[in-house]
Symmetry: C2
Amino acid sequence: MLNLPKDMESISVKLNQTLMPNQIQRLQQQIEFMLEIDKLKHILRRTILTDRSREENSAEHSWHIAMAAFLFSEYAQDQEIDLYRVIKMMLVHDLVEIDAGDTYCYDDQSRQDQARREQAAAERIFKILPTDQSRSFRALWDEFENRDTPESKYANALDRFQPFLQNYFTKGQIWRKNNITRRQVMDRMQPVFDGAPLLWNLVNLFIDDAVEKKYLKG
Amino acid sequence: MLNLPKDMESISVKLNQTLMPNQIQRLQQQIEFMLEIDKLKHILRRTILTDRSREENSAEHSWHIAMAAFLFSEYAQDQEIDLYRVIKMMLVHDLVEIDAGDTYCYDDQSRQDQARREQAAAERIFKILPTDQSRSFRALWDEFENRDTPESKYANALDRFQPFLQNYFTKGQIWRKNNITRRQVMDRMQPVFDGAPLLWNLVNLFIDDAVEKKYLKG
């Protein structure tokens, strides 16, 4: 659809001649990346918007959890975390879905090869960037996935908490459709316990209530 | 649609009794805000996605420019800026559109009362938050709007640059539809000059090329 090299050819020549010698390849890679990541807006998740009009996409979700990161920062397990890195992780964390798609967290079959698909996607997508940025973006994604730093624990907590809220406040429409149980949601919410324990208390009460209201199977 | 106080009533009682005394009202306000800002996903802009399938919404746009903020940070006019604050500004900057809608930047008529509509929206939306957060979110929005700090200048630069790229790489479909001229786009891109001068050079070349290719009127 896009034809970046062709579109930018005459422009590149002029830029090279007059403005940013040696910068042109770098800038071209950055712009290609900007256009590539636009595709995240097409990746639909298994979460619906609060008015239940449609599914949420992964770009919207990434924005929403980044907002959540600074909205709920007082509940982070570790109060010394670097929130800037948390937010960068969140902005980047779903980019692999451009190739790998969104994997429904309760779909055990498609979760089997999720890691392989996402690794391949990370290889391709982050390679579009200049080397230094390719490395730093990839490091953010790896950190998010590994969940072994206070920052990534908090980031993962909100990555689970935001769709949980949307599920609860849409009366469990997607949970009910997929026959999801209390146990499945409890397991899925474990990162909230690790990264934001006070929110975990709230999640527990919401789950009790959701079972009572039949949004979730007991 | 949502009925937050009712849904949370029994939960609030339990939380108050056992877990977070005095915290409950604060947490309730924060969750109400999380649900309220979900509406930004319905605000459609006059920019189309790069595959031209549909219009972009303001939540996706906010995510995309936050990515751009750290992708293009080397081009910021002031290299000492606080990028964390830049990104927070970007995440927040369009929330007023939940009430005020997206105002097309070349629609002089609806721009006349844009400020009034957006001020009223800011009043309502940020007031949902606990007082301290209400103030800090509002301060971020004000800073973005006022464009008088290095951070807000850089943030505004990318807020203009990202849709510019999408307009150019969709062969000016929206520009052509609205008979947009070179002069209008040059004026609109002024913040790129202020906040990221190297990108302004690129914008200039793209505009020349866009006029040549008849994406824009000369």
